[in-house]
């Protein structure tokens, strides 16, 4: 608190000394704006293309800025993209898979992390070490046996095959355990004396205190699962069970050069994650810092 107020006082001091806009500030803004244009331009291109008449995408007579600012609004592209492949189905599949994966991962990780962080039991260190040890093993190593296992079980091309392997990660457990360890124990000890059960402590004390870490894990799992392309590509065969990324790739394989439709599909895939980011931005930034410190 004290250092923070000192910091802001100092900041005020320097900013009151500073002229409204120094030359160096203009240079900094130039860098920042150039960066922003580079980041946004491809997205503008995507949106603009998705709203064009198919014939206007590749035309030698076009005016250059018509690639960046929509001048035509062919909403029909979206309707067509939605219908030419079962897009609604892809959406629902993605939402279903992502929701269960995320819930499953956060719930099981939090429970396991509680055991590792707060409870004493034989084998605790050994089991925790085995979690840690697998964290640097690339996914490519386990991918093949897991595929074979699912195949033996007859689960290939089922939702189970997409969801279950994504739930139990060492990373989620590790991250939440580290966070739980930073929380003070006093409250839990007091609750224990008052006769609160272990589950009560976990549910009523630890989880409410861990909202930032839980939100971070939720967002990262959600994002990873939403983007995940390779695993569903491996285990799914039927079109009607594809999640969005595989569905979109399938769409591309059918309509390789229908750029207006492909871009309409791309916009539709990006939209939900964009909305999530705008609302959950704080957790993204804090979460990244959280993961970076422990490296």
């Amino acid at each position: 608190m004290n250092s923070k107020s000192k910091e802001s006082a100092r900041h005020q001091l320097t900013s009151s000394k500073r002229k409204p806009l120094a030359l160096s500030d203009i240079g900094i803004y130039a860098v920042l704006i150039l960066g922003a244009i580079t980041m946004v331009a491809p997205f503008l291109w995507m949106i603009t293309t998705s709203l064009k008449n198919p014939g206007d995408v590749f035309s030698y007579k076009k005016i250059w800025w018509h690639d960046w600012v929509p001048v035509s609004f062919v909403w029909r592209n979206y309707v067509e993209a939605w219908n030419v492949v079962p897009f609604a189905r892809f959406y629902l599949n993605s939402i279903f898979v992502v929701a269960l994966t995320t819930f499953g991962q956060v719930a099981t990780s939090a429970m396991a992390a509680y055991a590792f962080a707060r409870l004493q039991f034989p084998g605790r260190n050994q089991i925790f070490f085995s979690y840690l040890a697998t964290m640097m093993i690339p996914g490519a190593v386990t991918m093949i046996p897991v595929f074979i296992l699912l195949r033996q079980l007859g689960w290939i091309d089922t939702y189970k095959a997409m969801i279950l392997p994504g739930i139990f990660t060492a990373y989620g457990t590790f991250m939440l355990r580290q966070f739980f360890l930073t929380l003070p124990k006093d409250l839990e000890d007091a609750a224990m004396i008052d006769g609160c059960s272990y589950f009560g402590i976990f549910w009523k004390i630890l989880l409410p205190l861990s909202k930032p870490a839980l939100a971070t894990l939720t967002i990262f799992t959600f994002m990873g699962s939403w983007m995940n392309f390779m695993w569903p590509l491996i285990v799914m065969n039927s079109e009607e069970k594809y999640p969005l990324p595989v569905g979109l790739a399938y769409f591309q394989s059918l309509h390789h050069t229908d750029w207006t439709l492909l871009m309409a599909g791309s916009v539709m895939m990006i939209l939900p994650i964009l909305v999530l980011f705008i609302f959950g931005q704080r957790y993204f930034v804090e979460g990244i810092k959280l993961t970076g410190i422990k490296g």
Partner: protein, 300 residues
């Protein structure tokens, strides 16, 4: 007596809390790791029974010229890493000036990270279109300007340009993402007194950066660099699958793509497992080097 009872109760509770995750972890991680190692000493096409072949997969691997080509591709594509790190640092330094609108810029820079995935790779296929893509249009415009007809390369279908194309895209995608945020956090952690002391000594911005900022944020640089290398060895499947199909002529096939093809296209499960273990050993070596080097090169 009740102490022992409590201890037992605590242990049972712990196992109950642990069980859902631990069982899943064993089924989908620990046991598969062991199974994968066993598999790498076998030949198995999924249909006929598996055969134990000893080190044959590994021997074949070292004589497989495709394997070496794809190793080279994987390393080549990591050329994106230094550019991306330098860009992240520059953007973070600019954002750290605490001028107006920084949150807006930070949000905009993060967009490519948020939206990564199949949709973005499809977009970049269009960006690299030889006739109407952004790059070649800019090149042609530039040609008009200087009065020389210029024509850009066939980015994704030209063996010489496909890898640079993926590198440029990867820099765009990562430069404003996680690394920039980590740098920003690191920069905010550098004590202001250091700069004030340097100012009294008459240091200019350039000197302040190299004498204070760079050494102070070196743990972050080190963390980012090693994580990027570890990630880089496992990268390259999604963009190549969508944009180039691993071609032209295998020039964008990375190790992970080769594992995918071997396992799920050609059903050479044992061979694919062997490659994945070589990949693991490389990553393991990088991780060890990271631990060893960390204490030596990083200034606190």
């Amino acid at each position: 007596m009740s102490g022992i009872k409590n201890k037992t109760k605590e242990a049972i509770t712990a196992y109950l809390f642990l069980a859902p995750n631990l069982i899943g972890f064993m089924i989908f991680t620990s046991i598969p790791v062991i199974a994968s190692l066993a598999l790498s000493f076998m030949k198995w096409d999924l249909f006929s029974p598996p055969q134990l072949v000893g080190f044959e997969n590994f021997n074949a691997l070292f004589r497989d010229s495709y394997f070496w080509q794809y190793c080279w591709n994987t390393v080549y594509l990591m050329m994106a890493i230094p550019f991306s790190i330098a860009g992240s640092l520059i953007l973070a330094l600019a954002l750290n000036q605490k001028l107006k609108g920084m949150v807006f810029f930070r949000t905009v820079y993060f967009l490519p990270t948020i939206c990564s995935g199949v949709a973005i790779y499809m977009l970049w296929r269009l960006v690299y279109n030889p006739d109407f893509g952004v790059f070649n249009m800019l090149i042609a415009k530039f040609g008009d300007l200087i009065g020389v007809p210029l024509k850009g390369p066939f980015w994704l279908t030209d063996e010489a340009w496909a890898k640079p194309a993926l590198i440029i895209m990867s820099v765009w995608q990562t430069v404003g993402g996680y690394n920039m945020i980590l740098y920003l956090a690191a920069l905010q952690g550098v004590p202001r007194d250091f700069y004030e002391a340097a100012e009294i000594d008459g240091a200019n911005s350039w000197q302040k950066f190299w004498a204070i900022t760079w050494p102070q944020i070196s743990p972050t640089t080190f963390f980012i660099a090693t994580m990027s290398v570890i990630g880089g060895f496992q990268a390259g499947f999604d963009p190549a699958y969508i944009m180039t199909g691993g071609g032209p002529n295998g020039s964008t096939t990375t190790l992970i793509y080769y594992i995918f093809n071997n396992a799920f296209k050609w059903h050479q499960m044992g061979y694919a497992a062997a490659i994945s273990w070589v990949l693991f050993l490389v990553i393991f070596a990088v991780t060890l080097a990271k631990w060893k080097l960390f204490s030596k090169t990083v200034h606190y």
